[in-house]
Symmetry: C2
Subunit: 320 residues, 2 copies
């Protein structure tokens, strides 16, 4: 079996394009761009909680980095550097090589240098720390939503949760929906270009990792505002509605912006070739209050709001 040093040298040491000193010393060295602030996030992916044991390692490598890229997208930051810490059971080089291929595919896609890491033996888990840059004062945050702002979401939230439900035998999907949902689950596409375009436009932003309602709840709490949602085309009660409202893992962006920017955002959707859907607005109601309406305006009570990563999917998955 390869040693820790051989593993790192063979699979996780690549050239860097914007790093002073990369993998191989006690620390990495980077020179921040003058005038930029650094945006930093760290995320864990643990087998059995965040991914299934039989997940394709290449897809897992992509997703391990992509979910972190998504955090920077939600902050309106340009991703630049990442570190990867991996806990691995006695691995086959094949598995690690395939994982690394997916990881670097994502790194190359977003021009991210891998600058450090750690490898140890144990139950499979990954911890990525990602660093990006945004001009001082321009990063997007969760705490700026204002009464009257429109609430928007990108893409197709709910697909990843539906794909997981199919894999777990809780629903049966057919093509083309099956392929779309499995792609959303295994190959999430972080909305970096959207995050960058929303600097100076959005008043608050978050990526949908815990569930649409739960993540909107975070914006409402931190902005001390309320919201009324009326989602165009909301499916009738059932697993599709539940996945849309409470399924996490899509890594779409949920954001608020002044209603005066509605047409700019609609135009942005065209430029980015990415659906941007207005799903409601911020109100002056009691801080944290979230009213959800059916397509016809009837107030509904969702089965659940989202997902707590401290519980496993099976424990949390009481889908109505």
């Amino acid at each position: 079996m390869p040693s820790e040093f051989e593993l790192i040298a063979r699979y996780f040491t690549r050239g860097t394009s914007h790093t002073k000193l990369g993998v191989g010393d006690d620390g990495a060295l980077i020179a921040p761009t003058p005038g930029q602030e650094l945006v930093i996030s760290t995320d864990l992916l643990v087998e059995g909680t965040h991914f299934l044991a039989d997940t394709d390692p290449e897809a897992l490598g992509w997703k391990t980095l992509a979910v972190n890229v998504s955090d920077l997208a939600a902050m309106g930051a340009q991703p630049r550097w990442a570190l990867l810490a991996a806990v691995l059971p006695a691995p086959t080089p094949d598995w690690i090589g395939t994982f690394a291929r997916g990881f670097f595919e994502c790194a190359n896609r977003y021009n991210i240098d891998l600058i450090g890491g750690d490898t140890t033996r144990g139950p499979r888990a990954f911890c990525v720390t990602i660093l990006g840059e945004a001009p001082a004062g321009e990063a997007l945050r969760r705490d700026g939503a204002q009464a009257g702002d429109s609430i928007w979401v990108s893409g197709w939230p709910g697909r990843a949760a539906l794909g997981l439900a199919h894999l777990q035998g809780r629903t049966v999907l057919v093509e083309p929906q099956l392929g779309e949902c499995l792609a959303a689950l295994h190959r999430p596409q972080p909305r970096v270009a959207l995050g960058l375009a929303l600097r100076g436009v959005a008043t608050a932003a978050i990526d949908v990792s815990d569930g649409l309602l739960a993540d909107l709840g975070h914006i409402l709490e931190q902005s001390a505002r309320a919201a009324r949602l009326q989602i165009p085309g909301l499916p009738a009660a059932g697993i599709e509605r539940d996945c849309l409202l409470a399924g996490g893992d899509d890594y779409e962006l949920l954001f608020t912006a002044p209603a005066s920017r509605d047409s700019d955002i609609a135009a942005l959707a065209g430029e980015l070739r990415l659906p941007l859907t207005r799903i409601g607005h911020i109100t002056a109601g009691p801080p944290g209050e979230l009213v959800v309406c059916d397509d016809d305006g009837t107030v509904i009570t969702p089965a659940r709001r989202g997902y707590d990563h401290f519980m496993s999917p099976l424990e949390a998955g009481t889908v109505s």
Copy 2:
């Protein structure tokens, strides 16, 4: 049981002193100091590999951060920010509260802001990412050792490994040595002040985490140099010698400096009240060659050079 959000809010959210935006958004925001480079490192601690299941959680909290601080010390960087990702089995608030107390004791000692993290359920493991600063071009690296340089080590390497051997019943220590060795194992003191003082003095540096010989080996490989070691007072063959030469986990600094600075370094030991011992010199021998001599100059062959974190201590622990 508390949710992920309650856990983070209750135990891991403290005020920050030099951070634009800390725990609670998709990412943290920091403003790097102009003219400084950022030094970044990430480390995993996994139960059963890096610590025993019955380790006191307060000591573990201290050590989880301290081993990362040590990486920055070895780079001559000033520690500034840290992120903590924790995998925890169904936890008692007591355990987490005690762990957090130890973690923040270390953070306060070194003036480090905790700026982010993640919490999930699984087999206990921690991943810390630490960031520090050093003036551009002044960070210490592993690749600058030159033939003729003196080789130095701080403190008392080997103590932590001896303490572990005692706990595992492989040796029996008595006071005061027992207390000193257990303190080295449970409360390592990262040599930050020494690292800062070595900027512009040391030609290469590393912290002793894998073992004295193994870590010197990393300097030799990356500097493409050889070394001859003659350690004053090297114990006779046996567990004390093995722990000194190959026991990791002490987090002392091992460094090289021109022989012309020998007296400066001796004076530094007095200022810092920290033993600094000259243990050999860099030679023009074949790159990577490491000759180890007994006290009287006889060449010896150590039982092992160090510790591979990809194997568990029990697998690696074939102590002669």
